[in-house]
Every structure is written in structure tokens, then in C-alpha cells.
């Protein structure tokens, strides 16, 4: 459709404004992550948008190396929290995807578990805060408090609705003829699933896994309640990064924020095509 010149101008200006608003908070954090200690608190006229003296000291500091002009030392480095986030998010993804994919296939092909779609939506509806008391009691009883496997288990359950719904719509979209042909050829139903269906679904499985991983990686509230010291995740560790001597450790926190923000943004852009489907529980496809 031919548009007027005025519309084209308006469009570019509006998009440009949106891009700037989108990028400024991100770029401020990136900039802060590379600022030396002396520039963290610069205010007013001295406000620096681009570090005058860019440095990697903030990252070094996070991993316990001194050499920065920061006098304080961390009693715990960022290594363990990063490991905790990685372990809990990936094993949680594995749990959600295994249970979710199996159930989605069972429902899509054999009509089993007809209660699951609604039950899982309900699970997603409730604020996690409203079930945390029993979860904390159960986790304490099962010895899962402050462990990465305890977090992985709850992550697996929390993101199960997404894994299930995403895989269900992928299975529903997949033509049944190939599986039927394999059945007629004498393949057992189990072999059809493992040798025919799943290999064909490799790409959707990967996309759904990345989507679920992003969700698990993004958690803060659950880890805040279920971890205390040994296995705190990145966001919990980040919130605790401040010292009585320097107050907020702006630069170090920004550096850690950058480390936390990069994986989901990169993975998210990789699975752009599936984001709408994932976020709307498969109600909408792109």
C-alpha cells in the first residue's frame, strides 16, 4: 500500500524514539559494567555516559581478583552463583521438557491426561508467592533447601506448563501419516515415538527447551526463598552485593547483571520465531 511521505517520516521517528528508550537502560548498565570505581557515583555534570577510563576491573573483582582501586574484598565470588544458576536452570529445563514432552505426546496422540491442559494453565495463573509456604516446608522436609537440585525440581514444575503447551501445539501441527505408516510397517508405538517422532521434532524441541531455559534462568523470587547461602543463584547473589564500606557496588553489580542478561537475550533472539507461540501457550502462532 502506498503511504504518504508524512507517514513514513512519522514511522521512522516513532521507531527511533522506541529504540532509544529500549536501549538506554541496557546501555547504561553496559557502560556501568566497564566503569572504574571512581566513575560509579559520578553525578550531575560529571555524569558519564561512556566510561572515560574503561576497565575490566568490575569483572575481575567479581571473580575474586583484586587489583582494582576497590579496597573491599568479596567473601564469596560470583563463580558459585553462576554455577548454581546454570545447574538449576538447565536441570529444571530437562525436568520440564521430559515430563512436558511426554505428556504432550500422550495427549496429542492417545488422548490421555485430558485434565492436564487446564490444570497446567491454573498452575501458571497462581502467584508463586501464594504456594511458597507449603513448598518451603516440603523442601525443608525433603532436604532440598539451599541446593541446586531442589531449585531444579521446583523450576521443572513451574515451567512445566510452558513445556507442555508448546510441545502439544508442535505435536498437534505434525502430520500423523508418517507415524501411522511406521505403525503399519510393524514398528512398536514406543519405537515410533523414539525413532520417528522425536527425531522429526528436533528443532521444535530445541526451541522449546531454550524458551523454558530462559524462564528458569530468569527466576528471582523462588531462589530468594529456597536458597540461603551455598546455592544462591545470580539474581539473589547480585542483590546481596553491597558493602558497608562502599555502599552499593554499582559497577560490580552491573557487570554481574550483564553476565546474567546476555544468555537469555541471545537465546531469545535465536528462537524469535517461536516466542509468540511460547508466550501465549500455543494459542497464537507466528
Amino acid at each position: 500500500m502506498r503511504r504518504s511521505l508524512a507517514f513514513e517520516c512519522f514511522r521512522y521517528v516513532a521507531i527511533l524514539v522506541a529504540l532509544v528508550i529500549t536501549l538506554v537502560p541496557i546501555l547504561w548498565m553496559v557502560s556501568m559494567a566497564f566503569k572504574p570505581f571512581s566513575e560509579w557515583q559520578a553525578t550531575g555534570d560529571a555524569l558519564t555516559w561512556i566510561p572515560r577510563d574503561p576497565t575490566l576491573d568490575n569483572f575481575r573483582f567479581l571473580f575474586g581478583q583484586s587489583g582494582s582501586d576497590l579496597i573491599v574484598a568479596l567473601d564469596r565470588t560470583a563463580g558459585k552463583p553462576i554455577l548454581a544458576s546454570l545447574l538449576s536452570a538447565s536441570i529444571g529445563t530437562l525436568i520440564a521438557m521430559s515430563a512436558g514432552t511426554a505428556a504432550a505426546y500422550g495427549l496429542s496422540r492417545y488422548g490421555s491426561g485430558a485434565n492436564l491442559p487446564l490444570a497446567l494453565i491454573q498452575l501458571r495463573l497462581f502467584p508463586p508467592m501464594a504456594v511458597m509456604i507449603p513448598v518451603m516446608i516440603m523442601w525443608a522436609f525433603l532436604g532440598l533447601m539451599d541446593t541446586w537440585w531442589g531449585l531444579a525440581l521446583i523450576y521443572g514444575i513451574v515451567t512445566l506448563p510452558f513445556a507442555f503447551w508448546l510441545m502439544k501445539t508442535f505435536f498437534d501441527d505434525m502430520p500423523k501419516e508418517i507415524e501411522e505408516a511406521a505403525l503399519v510397517e510393524g514398528c512398536s508405538r514406543w519405537r515410533v515415538l523414539t525413532r520417528v517422532t522425536l527425531p522429526m521434532m528436533a528443532a521444535p524441541l530445541a526451541a522449546a527447551s531454550l524458551f523454558v531455559f530462559i524462564l528458569n534462568w530468569s527466576d528471582y523470587l523462588v531462589a530468594l526463598l529456597l536458597t540461603t547461602r551455598d546455592w544462591v543463584t545470580i539474581p539473589v547473589y547480585m542483590a546481596s552485593l553491597s558493602s558497608s564500606m562502599t555502599g552499593q557496588l554499582y559497577g560490580a553489580k552491573a557487570a554481574l547483571g550483564l553476565i546474567a542478561a546476555v544468555p537469555p537475550v541471545v537465546l531469545g533472539l535465536m528462537i524469535q520465531r517461536h516466542l509468540v507461540r511460547g508466550l501465549t501457550f500455543g494459542a497464537l502462532k507466528q
Binding site: R109, Y110, P134, L221, K253, A261, L279, L284
Partner: protein, 305 residues
């Protein structure tokens, strides 16, 4: 379901085999759902009828020693902090979600047809929703410091430098929190609404334009009716998530100053971890579950119509 018996045995056997496999495949998910819903709900109901807290020293099964009937439920009706936190949460939802919706819709309409740089602009615009919410909270925590860039930018337009302490001022803290929510979640609206807009048949729009319909008329008569379901889905998703608002907000203000940004989730967090009155928390949590379930059933009925 009686047809199984009527069928000849030969065809029934494979169907049974399929049903068995289906059952086994759905079993893990069923167990996980049961594990996280049935037992915790019963436990929650039990504890909510008592005055039990982890400080009492007794394990939770012996909470009956602190039995107090429905006192917790009566308390919550007259709990001023609870109601204020509920209104505050609803205020955040009522302000943030419509703004996100309108901005997202506006942006999506600009992205319907192709233009140079569309893919790059699209990728950048959807990035905020993939940023870890706690990290987004920290970004806005930095931006809204009194010597931070928000005041720095505002100072460009004013005679005197602005040094507003956004996050420690009760009247502006909630504004800052809402701004952060809008920044992070407008992209979600944009993404979903754009997917819907692309599905609106372009030839209809073109025909309407040829017949002299203004852009506004085309929007009201063609686009909105076709997009109704998608708009409802987008709004429902955001309302559900926004009611739970915690991560960004908690990192930015911790619910403060005072209780100026104490939303429902933050209030429950506070009484769970500081006051430790778990019997009472359980009562509030159950009440919320009941209200939200009723709300969801009502909404689904309306949507089905």
C-alpha cells in the same frame, strides 16, 4: 466410552496398547502437578486454621496444638496492610497494562508492512522482555538514583539540575516501578499484537482504503474485530503476570519507602520472611487462590461467549 466392549478383540488390542502408552507418558506430568497442588493445598488449608509458625518449634503436622479455627480468615478481612497492598497492586495493573497495550499496539501497527531495517529494529525492540527481571530491576534502580541518568536527562530541560530521589520518595517510587514494568513488558504486547496484525487480510484493508475509509475507520471496522481474541489473550497474559509483580519492584524499592510500593506479593513475602506468621500467611494465600480461581473461571466463561 462403551464402544470398547463392542469392538472385536483384534482391533481393541492396539487401541489398549496406545491408551497404556498414553497413560504412562502423561504420568510424570500428572505426578508433578499433584505433588505441587494437592498436598500443598491440603497442608496450606490445615495450617491456615492454626496459629502455627516455624518459631513455635513444633513441626508443622503438630500445628493443631495452635488451633484457632477461622480466626486467621477473620483477621485478614480487617487487615489494613493487606487491603492497601491489594489496591496498590490493582493500581499498578490498571496503569501499566493499558499503557503497555496501547504502546505495543501502536508500535505493532508501524511494523505491519516492510521497511528497511525492520528486522534489526524488531530484534532490538523485543529484547527487554528477555532481560532477567531482577536485572531489569537493577537497571532501573541505577537509572532512578538521584544522581542518575534519568535526572540527568530531565535536567537538560529544566533551569536547575533535577535531583529527585525517585525511589526513596513515596509519591514517585510507584511511578518508577511502573515505568520499569512498561519498559520490560511493552515488547510482549508488541510481539503478540504484531503477530495478530499480520494475520489481518491485507486485501480487505486495501479495498477499504480504496473505498475511502480513513485509517481510523479501517482500524475500528476491520482490524479490531479480527484482533479481538488476540487482544484479549495479550491483555489476559499481562494482567495475570502483572498481579504477581515482584522481581523488578523488589530489587528497585524492596516495597518501600515505608510501604509505598508494597504490592500483594511483596506483602506476603514480608510477612512470610519477617513476621513469620505462617498460619496467617497460609490463610491469605488460600484466599488469593480462591479469588483468582473464581476470577479465572468467570473470565473464561465471558471469553467463551
Amino acid at each position: 466410552m462403551t464402544t470398547d466392549a463392542d469392538r472385536p478383540a483384534a482391533t481393541r488390542a492396539p487401541a489398549d496398547e496406545g491408551a497404556r502408552l498414553g497413560f504412562r507418558l502423561t504420568l510424570p506430568a500428572q505426578v508433578l502437578v499433584l505433588f505441587i497442588s494437592a498436598f500443598p493445598l491440603l497442608m496450606q488449608l490445615y495450617i491456615s486454621l492454626t496459629d502455627w509458625s516455624p518459631l513455635t518449634g513444633s513441626p508443622w503436622p503438630r500445628a493443631w496444638e495452635y488451633w484457632n479455627g477461622f480466626a486467621n480468615y477473620l483477621d485478614l478481612v480487617s487487615d489494613g496492610r493487606l487491603w492497601r497492598s491489594i489496591w496498590r497492586t490493582l493500581l499498578v495493573v490498571a496503569v501499566a497494562v493499558p499503557i503497555e497495550f496501547l504502546l505495543g499496539l501502536g508500535l505493532a501497527m508501524l511494523f505491519v508492512d516492510d521497511f528497511p531495517g525492520k528486522r534489526v529494529a524488531y530484534s532490538i525492540l523485543i529484547a527487554p522482555m528477555m532481560v532477567v527481571p531482577a536485572v531489569a530491576g537493577y537497571m532501573f534502580f541505577m537509572l532512578f538514583q538521584s544522581g542518575g541518568p534519568v535526572n540527568g536527562l530531565l535536567s537538560l530541560f529544566t533551569a536547575e539540575p533535577v535531583a529527585l530521589a525517585w525511589l526513596s520518595n513515596p509519591s514517585t517510587a510507584l511511578v518508577a516501578v511502573i515505568v520499569a514494568d512498561i519498559w520490560q513488558w511493552t515488547p510482549l504486547m508488541f510481539l503478540i499484537l504484531l503477530a495478530g496484525l499480520v494475520g489481518v487480510p491485507q486485501d480487505q484493508l486495501r479495498a477499504a482504503a480504496l473505498l475511502g475509509a480513513s485509517p481510523a475507520q479501517r482500524l475500528v471496522t476491520i482490524v479490531i474485530p479480527r484482533m479481538k481474541t488476540i487482544m484479549l489473550i495479550a491483555l489476559a497474559l499481562r494482567v495475570i503476570e502483572c498481579i504477581k509483580i515482584f522481581d523488578t519492584l523488589f530489587i528497585m524499592t524492596g516495597g518501600g519507602p515505608g510501604d509505598a510500593t508494597q504490592t500483594l506479593s511483596v506483602y506476603i513475602y514480608d510477612i512470610t520472611t519477617q513476621d513469620l506468621i505462617w498460619g496467617y500467611v497460609a490463610a491469605i494465600a488460600l484466599a488469593i487462590l480462591v479469588v483468582l480461581s473464581a476470577g479465572a473461571v468467570w473470565a473464561m466463561r465471558r471469553m467463551a461467549r
